[in-house]
């Protein structure tokens, strides 16, 4: 009540505006500042909670996994959008209400408009955006995850903010517009144009062409909205808190213009080594390095502005937050420049390194700066409470949490990058991340606690009297105000308020002009080049997705799958070696919007066509750990009717979509790879090891295998140590299907047809076992295991041999053999062949192929069971009703007698 009365008095005193040079102060909308400030803190707590839940799911994938609205992907969408709109958006708006009257000597345009913006921003954008994402309405584009209907209101809000905050700047004369105002005008104007383009164009331009625009927006969101507003805060709070002018306004201007010119040109560095033209990629890389130089300029200016004020940085809580933000800005920007460079990018891109980088940017730079500015403003709001002790705690909680998170994720990224180039199985890189992801979860706790304590700091403590900021800011020294040494009024050009004032120049050159420039140079021009390339290289036969596949694609986007699985094979050796041919522009010409992705937790899916059986996919989707025991992928059980064998329409369509990925490229054959440009071809021709990064794992080369049968099973001598290694490899890779006891009863068993084999119930020839491991079993869910290295394959082979059924020597009387051979010839030979080699006349049309009894000997019990029941999911029927018990017993012994340890097999031409 007291606050409201104070505010009312304040407004009554300040609402009369009498021209630009009025001695009276313009109105400051303290109540709007407070509402936006509290909204910022509430939304950052909710957004951080989303982040904590996401981090928890990394460690406990089944945590909160039972409902469609709480999947990892949706929570991830809401985490980033909440930070962007809810936390930083509200904090920036609060700052604008405070600073615009002080920089322009005019109030924000309208209080009524202010309340409209508040409700629009929080109750039409943030809250509905979160709800819609959880309900399955979203856009699978980074920093653009809220659905298009919400985007419409975001654009409306930005237009209203232009009226509210930029309009007062337009009549400020040249020579009087402080750099904080430049950043507010430039940032708001640029974002008003960039936001709809970045969100809408990828929906209209498919694949690679849309990705060029997505890349721009990813960077514009951070670089042209978050960064300008945060720098505006830093440039404002530092001189006010130190009561000294900034070191150089000229340098701040240089920094401003270079930032607005260069930052928009950075975007494509998110798609280095992609199908986007190399010229655009190189341009973005050059701009990224140039940007680092600009940031050095800006940060130097800001830190020099703090010279002689180190005591205040320690004592003044808002200034301490700002100082931290400035240092983080330098670090994250230099990091960004370095990671855009191609040799670094190929190593760390898609990894947790980038996640550490983005948290350093959004928490270290933007959030610390926004928190510092909010604290500064709060300490100057008449009647507001301000708890300096809580703020101090908040600083350290946030700093400790962020430090731990960034160090952890940076190290994690380096480990991931190393494993990805090493040819280790993909799942090894996931397993290696377990401790890092746990540390990341732990680091999130002090961060969310820090934001909570910060909010408490704004709600508790003594109320401010109506006094200056420095007087009430704890520890702030009462130094002399800034002097104007050497500046006489005759020296400076007091510009006349003019329609051609600085704000107009900023709005049209920095805000609009540089927006147009960047979208032409890195959006429209590459898109035209890509279209020409597509026209030249696309196969005439290329078909768009079917309706079911298209629906599956929507589900893929809706569930946030693209945040773990990229759909682009980059033009680098290690990507091609692991996944297949690099993604060509023409392959993406029906992708509305592109789903290339910027992060890999699971493997790339661009070449998924034909790689695994549908059963495997259904089982994996129902319970990922059934087929990949170490997976952290969330299950999607609600897409099934109780079991992996009963997918509903969503699951059917999603798997249909996955099945389509890479299909057109495969059908195009060699013609599909001719479009790789010369710059990329050079990248491909340079071997990775020549760049000094050693290959860490021994490998069987594919070329070597084509020439010779896989020999790892036969060449390795029995070795007890290998059995232990083999058991570990088996548990990590095989147990989900074949069971931890190798009895065929793994978790995935019910969903896979034919069911996984019972390894204990059969004996395999060494060569056959090796072939199955190397090639998989076509027509079943048994995949090829070529990603395992030779030592692992040897080890798992020996392990299987240690418990498989022993060879049974069968002796049959001539009469029995004769009878059995007649039964076999009458009923089995068309599939299994004359000599049981699985090469009967019908075998070629069957999948999986009929069993080759020469290399695979079932135990008597197993053979009997199959003859009685058949093999579900294969063409092997049940013979119980067709053959007598005696005939079946003869057949069991007969097929067992065919086993020769692969000797006949090896003699075949």
């Amino acid at each position: 009540m007291i606050d409201r009365q104070m505010n009312r008095n304040q407004y009554a005193a300040n609402t009369k505006i009498v021209g630009y040079r009025s001695a009276e102060l313009p109105r400051t909308d303290y109540d709007l500042i407070r509402w936006h400030g509290h909204a910022a803190l509430i939304t950052v707590l909710i957004s951080a909670l989303f982040g904590i839940l996401v981090a928890t799911k990394f460690n406990f994938p089944v945590f909160m996994g039972g409902h469609a609205w709480e999947t990892w992907g949706k929570l991830r969408y809401n985490h980033t959008q909440g930070i962007f709109f809810g936390w930083l958006g509200n904090a920036f708006i609060a700052f604008c209400y405070y600073v615009v009257p002080r920089l322009t000597n005019r109030p924000a345009t309208s209080r009524r408009l202010g309340w409209g913006i508040f409700w629009l921003w929080n109750f039409v954008v943030v809250l509905p955006g979160w709800v819609l994402v959880c309900a399955g309405f979203s856009q699978p584009l980074e920093w653009a995850e809220f659905p298009l209907i919400v985007d419409l209101f975001v654009v409306l809000a930005f237009v209203l903010m232009l009226v509210q905050f930029v309009k007062p700047f337009l009549r400020v004369p040249a020579g009087e517009l402080y750099v904080s105002g430049w950043y507010i005008v430039g940032g708001l104007v640029f974002t008003t144009f960039a936001y709809p383009i970045g969100n809408l164009v990828p929906e209209l331009l498919p694949g690679a062409k849309g990705a060029a625009f997505s890349g721009l927006w990813i960077h514009d969101a951070v670089g042209l909205f978050v960064t300008p507003l945060a720098l505006s805060m830093a440039y404002y709070v530092i001189p006010v808190a130190t009561r000294k002018p900034i070191y150089s306004h000229f340098i701040s201007m240089m920094g401003f213009w270079l930032l607005f010119f260069i930052y928009p040109l950075n975007g494509t560095h998110h798609y280095v080594y992609s199908a986007i033209p190399m010229s655009a990629q190189r341009g973005a890389i050059v701009a990224s390095i140039y940007l680092g130089l600009d940031v050095i300029l800006v940060v130097t200016n800001l830190l020099l502005s703090l010279r002689g004020s180190s005591d205040k940085v320690g004592a003044d809580i808002p200034l301490r937050f700002i100082w931290f933000g400035v240092v983080a800005y330098l670090l994250v920007s230099l990091q960004g420049s370095v990671q855009a460079i191609m040799p670094i990018n190929r190593f760390i891109h898609f990894s947790d390194w980038v996640i550490g980088h983005s948290h350093l940017a959004m928490i270290g730079f933007a959030s610390f700066t926004a928190a510092g500015a909010l604290a500064h403003i709060w300490s100057n709001i008449p009647g507001a409470r301000f708890n300096a002790r809580a703020m101090g705690w908040a600083f350290w909680l946030l700093a400790i949490g962020l430090g731990l998170m960034v160090v952890d994720l940076t190290a994690a990224g380096l480990v991931e990058g190393q494993m990805w180039v090493s040819r280790a199985p993909w799942i090894d890189s996931v397993r290696a991340m377990y401790p890092y992801w746990f540390t990341r979860l732990v680091s999130g706790i002090p961060i969310i606690a820090g934001f909570l304590v910060f909010w408490i700091g704004l709600l508790t403590g003594p109320r401010n009297a109506l006094a200056s900021a420095s007087a009430k800011t704890p520890g702030a020294a009462q130094s002399n105000p800034g002097s104007e040494e050497g500046i006489r009024s005759s020296d400076v050009l007091h510009g006349t308020p003019s329609i051609l004032g600085y704000a107009f120049v900023i709005a049209f050159v920095a805000g609009f002009g540089f927006f147009v420039l960047s979208f032409v140079v890195l959006g429209i021009v590459p898109a035209r080049q890509l279209q020409a390339e597509i026209d030249r290289t696309a196969p005439r036969s290329m078909q768009p997705l079917t309706a079911a596949e298209q629906h599956g694609r929507q589900i893929f986007g809706r569930e946030g799958c693209a945040y773990c699985h990229t759909e682009q094979v980059r033009v680098i050796t290690e990507d091609v070696r692991r996944f297949g041919a690099p993604t060509a522009a023409w392959e993406t010409q029906y992708d509305y919007p592109q789903l290339w992705g910027t992060r890999r937790i699971g493997p790339d899916l661009a070449r998924e066509h034909g790689l695994r059986s549908d059963d495997w996919h259904y089982t994996h989707l129902f319970n990922p750990r059934a087929t990949v025991p170490d997976s952290i992928m969330p299950g999607f059980a609600w897409m099934f009717n109780g079991s992996a064998a009963k997918p509903n329409q969503d699951a059917l369509d999603l798997i249909a979509y996955l099945r389509s990925l890479g299909r057109e490229r495969e059908l195009a054959g060699n013609a599909g790879g001719e479009q790789v440009d010369h710059g990329m071809a050079m990248e491909m021709s340079s071997s990775f090891s020549s760049q000094g990064i050693p290959e860490t794992r021994q490998q069987i080369t594919v070329a070597g295998l084509d020439a010779d049968a896989p020999t790892f099973a036969m060449n390795s001598m029995p070795n007890p140590a290998k059995n232990e290694d083999g058991a570990e490899v088996f548990q990590h890779n095989c147990s989900g299907c074949h069971g931890v006891n190798a009895d065929g009863a793994g978790i995935a068993y019910p969903g896979l047809l034919p069911h996984p084999v019972q390894l204990r119930a059969e004996h395999y020839a060494d060569a056959h076992l090796a072939t199955v491991l190397w090639d998989g079993v076509y027509g079943s869910s048994m995949p090829a295991w070529r990603q395992l290295d030779k030592a692992d394959l040897e080890a798992v082979t020996r392990y299987i041999q240690s418990f498989e059924a022993k060879v049974t020597t069968v002796s049959m009387s001539p009469q029995d053999r004769d009878a059995a051979s007649k039964i076999y010839a009458a009923n089995c030979v068309s599939c299994h062949g004359d000599h049981g080699a699985g090469d009967g006349a019908a075998a070629g049309a069957l999948k999986p192929s009929p069993v080759n009894f020469q290399v695979r000997q079932p135990s008597a019990e197993k053979a009997w069971s199959v003859l009685e029941q058949g093999i579900a999911g294969s063409t092997m029927p049940a013979w119980k009703s067709r053959l007598s018990e005696g005939e079946r017993r003869l057949l069991v012994r007969y097929v067992q007698s065919m086993y020769d340890d692969g000797q006949k097999e090896s003699q075949r031409p």
């Binding site: 270079l258 050059v286 701009a287 200056s468 007087a471 500046i487 020296d491 140079v521």
Partner: protein, 50 residues
């Protein structure tokens, strides 16, 4: 094209630097807002105090 653009902006930045170095009145003019900003802030503070 990106190289041309970066080259041009570098040249313009260098031009501004030279202008700043050789025109004292420009230096004073361009630094004016940082003093004006503090003066305005002081006005608000004093008004609140009163």
């Amino acid at each position: 094209m990106i190289n041309i653009i970066v080259g041009v902006i570098t040249a313009i930045a260098a031009g501004f630097l030279l202008f700043w170095a050789f025109r004292p009145s420009f230096r004073k003019w361009v630094e004016q807002p940082k003093y004006k900003m503090l003066k305005e802030e002081r006005r608000f503070s004093e008004d609140q105090r009163n």
